[in-house]
């Protein structure tokens, strides 16, 4: 079992007021799973993700990553775990603006102490695997949102972690880019990478094999959320058809307008 969180409580202590955010959250994820976490804003999704990502510690509870208790580790070891075992994807990409795509992707390798040559080779490989082989020397400002997020995924995966954590990865993307991104996630998952993804959108959550809901800091498993690969393909086709239909409608509306003016 790659993730084993049990009875996690998290309170934020803001001076006098104690804000309880997570309430007895337990989450078990097996190696190779693809889990979506859904919930309204402020329900504690990011808080949970930060705990899973070893960026934050719960007030109480236990957390084992790869069978290892991580809560008794010091900051240095936590950083080491983030570097070697986890990949992060954020809603707002979090790329370094003054550095090329290649340099952004190579950053974790710098911290892992990989030599420059090897860094560039592996970063280029990671960028190629997300289809950006011809954008390696572009700066983030020269890339589209979807491309930026793919750079971020390349960066998350460059150290070949077994677990990918994504906090609203499609939050800043249009639906087309979102679908492209979900295909990429699917491919990574097919290659055996475990994925935990936060999303607001049921459409996006539908790509995961399993969905959990958080409401007011309480987590619950969604039983009916399982959609198999065939269904997913069917859904994609449906969406594609819907978009085509929308385009046609729009086009005919425009024609009507111009006709009306003439």
């Amino acid at each position: 079992m790659i993730l084993k969180l049990d009875h996690i409580y998290k309170d934020y202590n803001t001076g006098k007021l104690v804000v309880p955010v997570l309430h007895d959250v337990s989450l078990h994820v097996e190696e190779g799973e693809y889990v979506a976490i859904m919930g309204p804003s402020g329900s504690g999704k990011s808080t949970l993700m930060n705990i899973i990502g070893c960026l934050d510690r719960p007030t109480s509870g236990s957390y084992e990553l790869n069978g290892e208790n991580v809560l008794n580790k010091d900051d240095r070891s936590m950083a080491e775990i983030r570097l070697r075992n986890l990949g992060f994807v954020f809603q707002n990409f979090q790329l370094l603006p003054k550095q090329s795509a290649l340099e952004n992707v190579a950053l974790p390798l710098v911290y892992a102490g990989v030599r420059r040559r090897e860094r560039q080779r592996r970063a280029a490989e990671a960028l190629t695997s997300v289809g950006l082989q011809d954008r390696m020397n572009f700066q983030p400002s020269q890339l589209s949102g979807g491309q930026k997020q793919r750079v971020a995924i390349a960066r998350a995966m460059v150290n070949k972690p077994r677990l990918l954590l994504a906090d609203e990865p499609t939050g800043a993307l249009d639906s087309h880019s979102s679908i492209e991104l979900m295909k990429l996630f699917q491919r990574l998952n097919d290659d055996g990478v475990t994925i935990v993804m936060i999303t607001h959108s049921p459409d996006i959550a539908a790509y995961a094999r399993r969905t959990c809901d958080i409401f007011d800091g309480v987590i619950s498993e969604r039983r009916s959320g399982h959609i198999n690969a065939a269904q997913r393909a069917e859904k994609e086709a449906e969406e594609e058809a819907e978009r085509a239909l929308a385009r046609m409608r729009q086009a005919s509306r425009r024609r009507e307008q111009t006709g009306g003016l003439a």
């Binding site: 930060n50 990502g53 960026l55 934050d56 900051d75 240095r76 950083a79 080491e80 983030r82 570097l83 070697r84 992060f88 954020f90 707002n92 979090q94 370094l96 003054k98 950053l107 974790p108 710098v110 911290y111 892992a112 420059r116 960066r155 998350a156 150290n159």
Partner: protein
């Protein structure tokens, strides 16, 4: 590390204007220090050259009593118990590694008794010299000739004079071949000589005056063998050595004096040979000027302090600005130390660049000072290197607080901020 330096340059380059303004305090401080040090160095070099003589490197080892040189002006002022310098002793001195040549000579200060026709010369020095004298002191023949081997051995009454004596005694007449009476002994002038690399003595006090007052109204040279013809006595001699290099002067002089002093033990009035220490005099003067200049350097140092505080200020702003960058780096696995190192490197690179620019500006400034006020300047390379290293240290010291702040940022807080 190298990666950090590269990143630092990138950061500095992407904020050219801000980086330059940040460096300005350091640049001004370092430039001030470099130009002060350059003028100190230049003045010191000039002092040393002027006082010690460039390339001459001769050191007088004179008989002295109680720290004052002994001047022989008549038979009663001859110190007792000091033997003449033997060939053996001279050979011993010559064999010192930092001595390139040595000469022993008789000398007296003559107040009168020298006549040429109706004119007379008073208050001058007369030397009884050996064949090494002119070579050691870099004398050249101006007209006539120098002494021959026979002059040195055959008690000839021959005389060589310097240009001052020639002017004072002959007043424009050609002295060669003329006869001069010295203590009623007729001597024939065979040559006029001058010293090639003589120093212009820097006379600051009475001591210096006595040290440098040799060639008052001129110099007479006679072969040492002929000395008793004039003065009837064999007299104790003074010694002059030529050191191998300027830096050897003090040591060579001391060694020579102690060899000479070992040849006798019971002289009157505690007479001993004492080497003139021109380098020591120079050092004293340099130290004097250094103390005043140290104060200037302190003032420039304050400017560096202000510059350092400026660096700290800008770095703090920069850390705040780059909160999300720092947060991201920590989130993807950068350890505290890595972030600390990155910011410290940036501060150090920034101030080192400031230091380098400051050195450049300082050199330019000292050239300007030289151009407009004529003060000699000399660029001191070690001082420049120290200045750059010192600027780097300033960066590290004043970058520490901002860097610690950066490394302690909570990645969650940092990422949450947009």
């Amino acid at each position: 590390m190298l990666e950090n330096v590269r990143l630092a340059f990138q950061g500095i380059w992407s904020h050219k204007m801000r980086s330059f303004l940040t460096m300005l305090g350091i640049i001004i401080g370092i430039a001030a220090i470099i130009s002060i040090v350059s003028t100190i160095q230049g003045t010191n070099n000039a002092l040393r050259d002027r006082l010690v003589g460039s390339g001459n490197n001769t050191v007088k080892v004179n008989l002295s009593s109680g720290g004052m040189d002994i001047t022989i002006y008549d038979s009663s002022s001859i110190p007792e118990g000091v033997p003449m310098v033997s060939e053996e002793t001279l050979a011993k001195i010559q064999s010192l590694s930092n001595v390139s040549s040595v000469t022993a000579y008789n000398t007296r200060f003559v107040s009168d008794g020298v006549f040429y026709k109706s004119s007379s010369l008073t208050e001058f020095n007369i030397h009884g010299i050996d064949a090494n004298f002119f070579k050691t002191l870099d004398y050249r023949v101006k007209s006539g000739r120098t002494f021959l081997r026979d002059d040195y051995t055959n008690f000839r009454k021959v005389l060589i004079i310097d240009q001052t004596a020639s002017a004072n005694l002959f007043r424009g007449e050609n002295p060669i071949g003329q006869t001069v009476d010295i203590n009623k002994q007729p001597f024939t002038v065979v040559g006029v000589v001058y010293q090639v690399s003589s120093y212009t003595p820097n006379i600051q006090n009475l001591d210096d005056y006595y040290t440098n007052s040799d060639n008052s109204n001129g110099l007479f040279f006679v072969p040492k063998a002929s000395w008793p013809i004039i003065f009837n006595y064999d007299e104790p001699e003074n010694v002059i050595i030529k050191a191998s290099s300027t830096d050897d002067m003090t040591n060579a002089g001391t060694a020579t004096a102690s060899i000479l002093n070992s040849t006798f033990s019971n002289a009157s009035d505690n007479v001993v040979y004492q080497a003139q220490d021109l380098l020591g005099i120079v050092k004293q003067q340099q130290e004097l000027s250094n103390t005043t200049n140290m104060q200037l350097i302190w003032i420039a140092g304050i400017s560096l302090l202000v510059g350092g505080i400026g660096v700290m200020n800008i770095m703090l702003v920069s850390v705040t600005e780059r909160t999300s960058e720092i947060g991201l780096k920590k989130a993807i696995g950068a350890r505290k130390g890595v972030i600390l190192g990155q910011f410290l490197t940036e501060a150090a690179v920034l101030t080192s660049m400031g230091g380098l620019l400051g050195v450049g500006a300082g050199i330019a400034m000292s050239q300007l000072i030289h151009r407009f006020s004529g003060i000699p300047v000399a660029i001191n390379i070690p001082a420049a290197v120290v200045a750059v290293l010192f600027s780097m240290a300033i960066g590290i010291v004043f970058g520490l607080l901002p860097s610690v702040k950066a490394s302690n940022l909570d990645p969650i807080e940092a990422l949450r901020r947009e």
